[in-house]
Symmetry: D3
Subunit: 140 residues, 6 copies
């Protein structure tokens, strides 16, 4: 679960692409694809700064970074699509559904009950989609 | 670092007081004292719901809860006094200064550079005050 | 229109359930139902703190509490589903459609014209649904 | 406590000045004075739209309008100076200290505990300043 | 591209209607129409204060005013319908698609990447709808 | 007033330092200095992404970028220190005091009168400090 490459120097863009892929998976790629026709340079910045710079820093575990991101997005209440991407990302980097639910419930204290409720409903959708996908993989 | 009492039943208020004391320490008590002359019932609610209910739940470690709170308050940008209390609380429950700094820098991605800067400056004040207090204890 | 029970002691949960039912009616129950599969404990907290504790306090009339809630949610602009629930609740506890419209228009002053517009459009939907339901009851 | 002039037609500006004076008193005048050197036209707009148009409308009592304003400003958390002016205004148009305290505590539910705390501390300052002024009037 | 009428005195309402029509075009009229059944007086205020007063002031070009509005609405993140109206308005008063895209990307710095992303996706929808309409006019 | 270097390739960091110096001047340097003891890496990011990447892009004039930033920060209401830095920056890159005042007044429409007022008072402080400094230079 480390993002730092050890042997060869890697550009911010390459490192960011690798980090985004590891953390956000398909949901992250969908955002990049959606940007292609509108602002392709912004896709580059999104790889480089958040993922190539910040998420690739060694001082905080990816799991802890996703706790911070889920909390922040739920508290702000203005970024439901991104909150869903990061609930998915949290599961990808080792948070359990229970832990994510706890983070969202806790936001009632700091950002009010509506922020917590809207975060929990977003999590409900992500968990359900993931359960359906997992079932599909098992049954197919 | 567990908050759940095991032998005797404990009221929400008692459990909340114990959790607030463990997590926020003196900074939490200052908030309670400041409420005494304005809205003493609100001090009770503050013990009971955030600390007696939420922080006392077993599904997420206190250290992880403080990551979430620091991130949320820095991202919202409307609660500088509470952010300082929880930077202090983060140190109390096991976050390092480096980890707190990483959380705050990461908020640049989700809430913008000013939110991160204002959070980092708040942390700078808390760290300096704590270093001064620690030095006082050593030298005195 | 009082929520305080006079004869028997009542738990926060019971009192909250009664208050939520009186204030939010079916819309409140829908929220509780939606939480069942995601975070049932949060439904308990929602009964207990907002409704069992805060709305059940005697110092402010329910009608006045709904003025405050409608104003706050419209000004924040991050809680459209909850704003609709509380426009409905406002009607339930004695606010007229005209008064609710005035509250929302006033938010243009404090949170800007978009906040007021989005609040007014939410009210338009609630008023229309309610008119349709009332007509249904009359005609059926 | 009515703002509508009955006998002579009155301009928006005149009506707004009268309403601002009635509602906000000296605190409102301080804002107007502070604008004089920066943006005097904005003082005119402040008289005209919020006070000459909105607060002067008959569909909602001034007391109810101040409930809405206090709730909105406390929930937003970005307007502490204006919140203090309107806590003062609430007292001017008939809200009790207890009612204002209830409104602010209720904001914990919708905007989080920090918003409620910061609102309560603002109220504590306004109440103390007013108590000091009243004592001065009595003793002097 | 000037809004100030030179020969005859014009009421705020007339001036606002003319400005709204020039700036927002059909999208602005849709908002006014939607208000008709809910709060017709608010449509009047919307003509008068934002458009009759503010946008009609000579001290800042309409193009510059739309830069400010697009930036503010994207940064706030609570007014997607109004953001789309003003992306359209920006095109109407002389901003290029590239300039609007730059403004929205820049919001990543001040309000975070999600605010920029949601703004860019809104712009993508407006640009696509406009391209479709232009093609329709050419081919029809 | 162009930031793009024409002859030699320049790193993002160098370009960002040059842009920050041109745009924010001494106020920007103060922010960098304040970060030195808390999070020096964040100073690097601040040079690189906002200034080395975004402000250095050719698609929008610096003057227009500052309109967007002043509007966004005033509308958000959570970044008064940064708003002051960018009011100063706006003057540095060619906005007049009148234009900045117009931008801030316009925010009343989108973010409410308190946001506009707090922005105007921030501008008042910046204008006064600058007038004092200019007078000092003339008289000294």
């Amino acid at each position: 679960m480390t993002i730092h490459s050890s042997t060869t120097p890697e550009s911010r863009l390459e490192r960011g692409k690798r980090a985004l892929d590891e953390i956000d998976g398909k949901a992250g790629q969908n955002v990049i694809d959606a940007l292609a026709g509108i602002a392709p340079d912004f896709a580059t910045y999104l790889f480089e700064f958040p993922f190539g710079d910040i998420y690739s820093r060694p001082g905080l575990a990816l799991r802890d970074r996703e706790i911070a991101t889920i909390a922040a997005l739920a508290a702000m209440g203005t970024a439901q699509p991104q909150l869903k991407v990061h609930i998915e990302a949290g599961l990808n980097v080792g948070l359990s559904r229970e832990e994510i639910t706890e983070i969202l419930m806790q936001m009632a204290v700091y950002a009010g009950f509506p922020a917590a409720l809207n975060g929990l409903f977003a999590a409900g959708e992500v968990f359900a989609a993931r359960a359906a996908a997992e079932e599909g993989m098992t049954c197919g």
